[in-house]
Symmetry: C2
């Protein structure tokens, strides 16, 4: 989902009344970012509070390449990483993940090995359908064991776009919340649904209800579900005791537009890129009785801040034995403060750009290669800014491209290198970069090796279901990351 | 001002609290259009309820060329046109225009000849400063006579961007409203301020207050002024008896971006073009006690509807001796109805595109010529859609380019000519076009002839001020309209 997909963020069909209402009752973040323009690294960052380059969710197979966790990935979240649920567990929280995990699917990476008590969802994207010979269909787990596979037991009709998965995930959420409330247990619910990822789907009751086609139907179903979750909290009388945050893991995938991809509003390009369209996200904090209704914040925020903020809410300190990139947003959310901090835009192993205040300096620019682009893979459809949306990796480390995101949110007008404004801003940002790089200890890259043998052939529980498949022989290779 | 310039429409700095509040208390129109992608024709259409091609505000000097009323224009609003204030006058309304008239500056075109009782403002844009030899500075009128000239008596500091004009126009508005209220007279106020047109300016108190630079300062001053006008109506106790509508006369001038031009949000191109960015506008209706707060409408609306709607509010019938293109929006505004009607996108003498429902068919595409483009004049900076944002006038009358504005508000993905959806939609729209063209009687074009002698050399009242200038000899020529 992209920054421009909600009514509150200017989507012209304005079809998200529940999320808009959530914003009207809470705080709208206009300058909130993911830690990566791609799903897996972004989610790893959210749960660890650390940049993917630290927690291992990147690749060194190529320079500045986006990598994630397809089902032939060998790596996953290292045991050495401390995840938010692991820490919350110590404070008595019950933790549940509903939906896509995406931090590795081999046994050692299982979410219940990393602090979650419960899981309903899948380890990977709902790609498919597969033939179960060359490639198995993606399993869905309930806790430790699989309960079926996408397309087989959890239907997705690619022709009609119908699937009831978001409804299943919604019901899981409502049930979990009810259970926690009745047992008076504090809880952390990570509602990481698959929608609006391609292949896009929606439940029957939402199909054809949006001006925006199937993608809009999916957005409407999410909007409706969020509304139901918030209402549930209110009806249970725990809304003033429950902090809720809504955001996305990367910008809208314009490559899938218009029927399977969303909107990044006025921003440049989309998912896979470190332009604003790739990493700036819709974000709403909700906590009735604590956040003043209708608040708006220009705090530069990050999904990694949800780690630190959640710890703070639970009265916990972040781990002191490692670098945490997230910050505690409570002073922003509760007192309207603005905390000075930069945003680092990474693509794989490279720091592509840095934002400080309203200035954004690009040290590297790249959309995708000419070769990929010539195949019709376009991360910036209809957009082209000379020297900016480049199809070769362009280094600008000596003279970064500088944009003022207030005057030019669309990153179309680089500031003149000769201007005083440029000198001043770049000097400041370059200082931040030096400081950042001087202390950066990259983690062991987890997304380098792929092997057909590790795919979801025989997940735990497959025997009971008669759904075990035979894995091919192990043949580890460098994963290929074209973008 | 463009569709994307208000917080309520997704501008990322979200700096328009008063207009956003106006929307929250009233009705937000998401699909509201001008009648032309340029100022003069759009304003002529607003005041006559008729397309520029009918009321004469177009040129036949070239095909599909935008024309307006610079100070050497010979034409203006014809006497045969019935303007909204002329009609309201008969119902006892007192009518005032504050700001830019733009329907011709020669004596016969004076707004007080066309139904207005009062005027404070200028006949043309605040371009300049001029030397008063080759070209006189633009006069400001109070009613029948000039009271000074821009840059001389009404300062605009182009270096700092400072000018207090919006404050003058605001005070005029507040005073007029007070006067009408105290005399219990119904009134029509056409608050047609010059800001945010280039050269952009703001009052000292707003300079430097926006994230968006000078343009944002100007937007903030407008926002503040609208807030003060609405508050004034409330304080006078007449807000439930006063209908207020906010909109703009064309899309943001991207050619002036980033410091002098605004945002068209997710839409394609800007002012001068018949893409959505050129003609879709922010629009808000406000009438406490009548419009349900927070209403949102997808009614296809037009500035021409303000003519018909205002007549309806005054209990008047639109003239029956001529074609009126505007419709009465009261059923939309008060009862939430949706009225089926197309939007015609004209550029000069050509019907470029038509919208019906969510479909938009382009019969002609053109941004501007290669020649102009090579000079750096770019109506679509950073945007380029092959075969759509063309630099030659491309005719598609036999196979119109069709877009679905719900799935593809940015006009990037033309529908396949072979699809059933295309066939169905184009058949419907082509029927509307045939019907439209069959009954269309173009007016005498008013924007063909230019003459240095008709410039604002000696406006009425210049003697008293010692500000009369000597006109050169008359030398009428075809006006040159490059776009």
């Amino acid at each position: 989902m992209g920054w421009g997909d909600l009514g509150a963020f200017g989507e012209p069909s304005k079809e998200t009344p529940n999320l808009d209402q959530m914003a009207a009752e809470g705080m709208l973040f206009l300058d909130f970012y993911t830690a990566s323009p791609l799903c897996s690294p972004s989610r790893a960052a959210l749960l660890t509070g650390r940049l993917p380059v630290r927690n291992g969710f990147y690749t060194t197979n190529g320079h500045a390449r986006n990598a994630y966790t397809p089902q032939d990935i060998v790596g996953g979240i290292p045991d050495s990483e401390l995840l938010l649920p692991e820490l919350l567990k110590k404070a008595g929280y019950t933790n549940k993940i509903i939906g896509k995990w995406h931090l590795g699917h081999r046994p050692q990476f299982h979410p219940l090995q990393h602090g979650f008590h419960e899981w309903f969802g899948s380890p990977n994207c709902h790609f498919g359908p597969y033939d179960n010979r060359e490639r198995p269909n993606i399993p869905l787990y309930r806790d430790w064991e699989m309960v079926g596979r996408y397309y087989e037991d959890f239907k997705i009709d690619l022709k009609t776009g119908e699937a009831n998965l978001t409804q299943l995930y919604l019901q899981e959420a409502l049930d979990f919340i009810s259970k926690q409330q009745s047992s008076q247990q504090p809880f952390f619910l990570y509602w990481a649904i698959d929608a609006t990822h391609a292949p896009v789907y929606a439940s029957k009751q939402f199909l054809g209800t949006s001006q925006r086609g199937l993608y809009g139907d999916a957005v409407r179903e999410i909007d409706d579900s969020v509304g139901k979750i918030l209402k549930h909290l209110q009806q249970l009388g725990i809304s003033e005791n429950t902090f809720v945050f809504f955001t996305s893991d990367n910008g809208a995938a314009l490559i899938s537009a218009p029927t399977q991809g969303g909107s990044n509003g006025p921003f440049l390009c989309g998912k896979q890129t470190t332009f604003e369209g790739g990493m700036r996200e819709p974000a709403i904090a909700w906590w009735p009785g604590h956040i003043p209704a209708g608040a708006v914040s220009h705090q530069l925020g990050s999904v990694m801040d949800l780690f630190s903020t959640s710890l703070s809410l639970a009265g916990l300190q972040p781990p002191s034995d490692r670098q945490i990139d997230g910050i505690d947003l409570l002073p922003v959310i509760l007192q309207g403060k603005l905390i000075d901090r930069p945003i680092f835009y990474y693509r794989g192993n490279e720091l592509m750009a840095v934002r400080a205040g309203l200035y954004k300096a690009h040290y590297w620019t790249w959309s995708n290669s000419w070769e990929e682009h010539s195949k019709g893979i376009d991360f910036c459809p209809g957009q082209s800014v000379a020297g900016v949306t480049t199809h070769t990796q362009e280094e600008h480390t000596h003279l970064p491209l500088l944009f003022h995101l207030g005057r030019d949110p669309g990153e179309k007008y680089p500031l003149s290198f000769a201007s005083e404004e440029y000198q001043r801003a770049v000097e400041h940002i370059s200082g931040l970069v030096q400081q950042h790089k001087a202390t950066l200890v990259p983690g062991q890259p987890q997304l380098n090796v792929c092997d057909q043998a590790v795919m979801n052939w025989s997940p735990p529980g497959c025997e009971k279901l008669g759904k075990c498949l035979k894995a091919p022989e192990s043949d580890p290779k460098k994963c290929s990351w074209p973008h």
